[in-house]
């Protein structure tokens, strides 16, 4: 069976358990995260697919929401403005001021707020009906965000401490370590400069990837088991789908929070004095 570009479901729907059609359980896998282009084709590297559509649509939704809330803000806020203000204040006070501090952190508030709502929205697509795909489970999206943060904190380090100071900061230079110092510096160098952007992106990616796979697994199983005695198991699987959806809702917000919290920690580390 060939993949249909207009296919909207993540799996074939004509197969159930206990049928003698020879088909098996259409388990979710890497292929669940690949999409036929809606436009263009893969080989030319010029194409447009569902995650791209969701990414742009998500941006428009975020901008639309904040546009409606903050375009003409009032001294006495309406309901929408109050909700948006609450979200904004949570990121500003709860994350940026807490980690970087009010004086130094103010400059980075717009970036962190944008990052949080962007990541959250991209995660939320996972459980929005019809879309039902977390954009952040494609490595490119977390990677580009992690790259922005990486470039920011590395350049901040060099700007703040000068060339030598920056290397001391990155390698955690500390004379009191004595003979262990070279080893510690080597580890710190790897951990900070090379591994950090990777883990920053992959943490988000892997969580969303796993979450989506779990949801797919239970959803597909609910459908696949819907035959004969399997119906009882299908019910269990369906309940699991609902439970996992609720769990995902929580994980999505948490991962967005973790992503921006790490961002703030990196910026704070770049601005901090050498010890």
């Amino acid at each position: 069976m060939s993949a249909d570009p207009t296919q909207v479901l993540a799996f074939e729907t004509d197969c159930h358990i206990f049928q003698n059609s020879g088909c098996g359980f259409p388990a979710p896998g890497l292929h669940s995260f690949l999409f036929e282009p809606l436009w263009g084709d893969h080989d030319s590297n010029l194409y447009f697919n569902k995650p791209m559509l969701l990414a742009l649509l998500g941006s428009i939704i975020i901008v639309g929401f904040f546009w409606a809330a903050f375009r003409k803000p009032k001294l006495v806020p309406g309901k929408l403005q109050m909700v948006a203000e609450y979200g904004y204040d949570f990121i500003r006070r709860g994350i940026v001021y807490e980690t970087i501090g009010k004086r130094e952190g103010e400059k980075y508030v717009p970036l962190v707020v944008s990052l949080f709502f962007f990541v959250w929205m991209m995660n939320l697509w996972s459980i929005i009906p019809v879309a039902q795909f977390p954009v952040t489970s494609i490595i490119a999206y977390p990677a580009v965000l992690a790259l922005i943060v990486y470039v920011l904190w590395v350049s901040l380090t060099f700007k703040r401490h000068g060339f030598v100071g920056a290397w001391k900061n990155i390698t955690g230079y500390d004379k009191s370590l004595g003979p262990v110092l070279p080893l510690a510096m080597l580890i710190e160098f790897f951990s900070n400069l090379l591994v950090r952007p990777f883990t920053h992106a992959v943490r988000l990616f892997a969580n969303m990837f796993a979450g989506h796979t779990l949801l797919l697994l239970f959803t597909i199983a609910s459908w696949y088991l819907l035959n004969g005695i399997g119906i009882a198991y299908a019910g269990v699987s369906f309940v699991m789908t609902i439970v996992m959806t609720a769990f995902e809702l929580f994980i999505q917000a948490l991962q967005a929070y973790v992503f921006v919290l790490l961002t703030c920690t990196y910026i704070q580390g770049a601005l901090a004095k050498n010890h």
Partner: protein, 180 residues
């Protein structure tokens, strides 16, 4: 499905990001960041600042009103105390003045009484003197008339000229004084 599987096989590593998706990801984020950072967040920051100032202004106003009320209260209290003091002073003064007036009235009454008594005494003395002189004259006249009748001639002119009667009466008075 099989085509997707082959594509998946080709792109073995899900950790290698395809360029077009990187570009779209960047674009999507830049859209969000651009709107929020350039327009919407400065908007709300301004309003939040205004709100903070409005609240602080309100508190300041309330403080000012409180202070003013306090000072007015102090002023009223001071005025009230002053008024009480003044009233007490006036009462005291009135009492003193009353006492003085009563004293004066009493003295005046006393004086008037004494005057009246003195006038009475003077009147009585005058009356007595008048009566005494009238009596003396009458007694003289009667005595000379009687003596004239006894002697047979009028002694009146002579007696009057010589003042005999008066002398006699003075002697009588002197005797009476001596007896007393």
């Amino acid at each position: 499905m099989s085509q997707l599987l082959t594509v998946a096989a080709e792109m073995e590593n899900p950790l290698v990001p395809p360029i077009p998706e990187l570009v779209i990801g960047l674009l999507a984020f830049v859209i969000v960041f651009g709107f929020l950072a350039k327009k919407l967040l400065p908007n709300i920051n301004k309003v939040l600042e205004e709100r903070r100032e409005a609240i602080e202004g309100g508190i300041e106003k309330a403080d000012a009103a409180q202070t003013e009320a306090q000072s007015v209260l102090e002023q009223y209290k001071a005025q009230l105390a002053e008024a009480r003091h003044e009233a007490a002073r006036l009462r005291q003064e009135a009492q003193e003045q009353g006492a003085v007036i009563i004293q004066e009235m009493r003295a005046e009454g006393q004086r008037q009484r004494e005057e009246i008594i003195a006038a009475g005494h003077a009147q009585i003395e005058a009356d007595r003197k008048a009566a005494s002189s009238a009596l003396r004259q009458d007694v003289g006249t009667l005595a000379t008339a009687l003596a004239g009748k006894l002697v047979g001639e009028s002694l009146e002119d002579h007696a009057r000229q010589s003042g005999t009667v008066d002398r006699f009466l003075d002697e009588l008075e002197a005797k009476a004084e001596a007896v007393r």
